[in-house]
């Protein structure tokens, strides 16, 4: 326990899950990943008071593993709608309930604001409306079916499929052929551009800048067309298989895709980049929804959100294929900084794609995967941040699975970012984090 606390003080929790009869903590510290196993039978000790980054994990444990919390500062449900949610109320403040049904076609979530006039004093988020029993669906399914499920967990099918496939391949001890390894990264970067441009388009729509939103949406749709050209599916479903990729891209298609992508990279720099220099756009985005670097550390944030608050951690730095790689970092922590990170990462991904597509290696597309009984975890830097799959296989089936999505780690940041801000600015704050409800509700 003391070693765990020491690690948490200098590091960041990556995952916490119950693997009976123990709790397992993955903590990334300055010297790499450390794992801690704490016995827990019916109860466990909450550490969230000291390490707020664990708060949502502990709320999840209480529901998923049915463990009693000891010393819990904030005993709220996470996804369970069977128990009433103890919303904080303040004397003399107006309560504004928003959702779970919204006026637009977006995912369901409930937001409870305590406002003083137009100023947000406190926000509480209640999720769980998208809970579909993803963990239960995985259990006992074949490893191949697990891949199909992973593609449907959230809105990033490539990242989820790749992360799951890597975990299974680690169990099997196989190395994917160089071609497959490279082509998977092509798809991952395409998905990153697609997602990031989506965040930007949403942001521009929300501030009423119709022209910028349409242009961003256009480039995004054309990136999606390239995903379809290279993978055969608009979201690249079924392009990644266990042990490799489904098919080889012929040279003509790769060349055509490179040409089109360089055109789109040009459009991004000409039509989208100047939007973030427009004075009225700056007025809307700057100093809104600030997450300081200290808050980002304490909350254990990941992905573009963390990088916009000055934490230069990008899992792609660890992958040899990406080298040389410099993570995009901004220090403002506000909506504008996050928009900059999205834009700069999308632009960098265009560059990476050009390199990857030019150097597609020869060789087979996939190797057979026969997994012995065992367990492994894999991490991917998805568009939203660090995605983790822990897979336990037994007799070619999924025996246990733990999915920690970046959104799950970043949701608490939204509550912090909007405090003290104006109520009408909430939607752009929310959009700037672009959190997925589906993959944190599971």
């Amino acid at each position: 326990m003391e070693a765990l606390k020491r690690a948490l003080r200098s590091g960041r929790p990556v995952a916490l899950w119950h693997d009976p009869p123990q709790l397992r903590y993955l903590v990334e510290g300055p010297s790499g990943m450390e794992e801690f196993r704490i016995p827990a039978d019916r109860t466990f000790t909450c550490l969230a008071r000291e390490f707020p980054a664990l708060a949502w994990f502990e709320r999840q444990l209480a529901e998923v593993a049915a463990l009693q919390r000891i010393g819990c500062a904030d005993p709220k449900p996470l996804r369970d709608h069977g128990t009433p949610f103890p919303f904080a109320t303040y004397d003399g403040l107006h309560e504004v309930p928003v959702g779970p049904v919204h006026a637009g076609v977006i995912e369901p979530g409930h937001f409870r604001f305590s406002v003083l006039g137009e100023r947000i004093v406190n926000l509480e988020i209640r999720l769980g409306y998208q809970h579909r029993g993803v963990r239960a669906a995985f259990l006992g399914s074949s490893l191949e079916r697990g891949r199909l499920l992973a593609e449907r967990v959230g809105s990033e099918p490539v990242a989820h499929a790749l992360c799951y496939a890597r975990a299974v391949e680690l169990i099997a001890g196989v190395e994917v052929p160089p071609y497959a390894d490279r082509f998977r990264l092509v798809l991952l970067e395409l998905e990153r551009i697609f997602q990031h441009l989506g965040h930007l388009a949403g942001l521009f729509t929300d501030i009423g800048y119709a022209f910028a939103a349409t242009q961003t949406g256009r480039v995004r749709a054309m990136v999606q067309a390239e995903i379809e050209r290279l993978s055969g599916h608009r979201y690249a479903r079924n392009a990644i298989v266990l042990g490799g990729v489904a098919a080889r891209v012929d040279e003509d298609a790769a060349r055509a895709a490179r040409a089109k992508l360089s055109e789109l990279a040009y459009d991004t720099s000409t039509y989208i980049a100047p939007v973030l220099r427009h004075p009225m756009v700056l007025d809307r985005l700057r100093y809104v929804g600030v997450v300081s670097e200290g808050q980002a550390h304490r909350l254990g944030l990941v992905g573009p959100t963390a990088r916009a608050s000055g934490i230069g951690r990008d899992l792609r730095s660890d992958e040899p294929s990406y080298r040389p790689f410099v993570p995009v970092t901004r220090v403002g922590g506000d909506v504008l900084s996050r928009a900059h990170v999205y834009l700069l990462e999308a632009q960098a991904s265009f560059g990476l794609l050009d390199r990857f597509l030019r150097e597609l290696p020869d060789g087979p597309t996939a190797v057979p995967v026969v997994a012995p009984d065992g367990e492994a975890w894999a991490r991917i830097e998805s568009a939203r941040g660090e995605l983790l799959y822990v897979v336990k296989a037994r007799e070619q089936r999924v025996q246990a699975i733990e999915i920690v999505s970046p959104s799950f780690k970043n949701w608490p940041a939204l509550e912090v970012a909007v405090r003290g801000g104006g109520l009408p600015d909430f939607p752009i704050c929310n959009k700037s984090f672009d959190l997925s409800y589906a993959d944190s509700d599971l």
């Binding site: 107006h94 928003v98 006026a103 009423g208 119709a210 809307r284």
Partner: protein
Amino acid sequence: MTSLLLLLLAPLFSGSIKGLKAALQNRRGPGLLYDYRNLWKLWRKDYVWPRPATPVFLLGPVAAVLGPASAAVVLPVLPGVSFAGDFLVLVYLLNLGRTFQALAALDTGSAFGAQGSYRELLLAALTEPGTLLALAAAQLASGELSLAGLAHLDASNALVYLLVLVALAIALVAEGARMPVDDPTTHLELTMIHEAQVLDHSGPLLALYELAASLKLLVYVSLIGLLLPFPRVLAFALALVVTGVALAVLETYGVRLRYLRVPDLLSYNTLAGILATLGVVLRLRN
């Protein structure tokens, strides 16, 4: 007469702004007659009655249309009723419609309705003095107290009239709930001003609100038209085209103001109104 004309033209006006916006964004628009079809579609639908609502809930949309429609009676685009001080009647009939709209939104008991109401009433309170002063200045400069007696823009009153036009243009975007004050296309409840008030109204009630919104815009467009140095109907048509294009361009290339900055914009409306009045009183001529 004018009321009828404006009622008939209102959906065409809002429909063509939509079409123009779509064209400016390289999209294919919904067609000029879309808003007529939309109103007809909504009119035939059923509506939902919120549990805590009283008959005020029904009165809101009705008054919202009747306010601008009756205000238009005194607008001399086509020959109609005219009397001294009718511009005051016009402004306050518009306000009457809005008051009932705010009450109807409060009546639903929803947090968004209340939020829309207090925001819209704040904007109304900030726009009213400037608009009134500007209209009064135009009347005084013309030496007549009825809208029908308004003189055209010419060299002798150009300074005052320009200020009046500025005040009216700002009032148009604020009262008409258009960009950069309000975004009529947004689906984000928390940023809504006008739209938040109508969230709970559906079917024919929503149709009335939609009609009322474009009708209100047209009343301001007609006011602007009255000042232009052309025959009444021609000036009206010209104001219609110019305002429509300006709104479409503004809503495509403009960014919505932060809500807390809106009063800054509206202060220019008040300022223009005050300066116009001073201009008349001090007999500034160029």
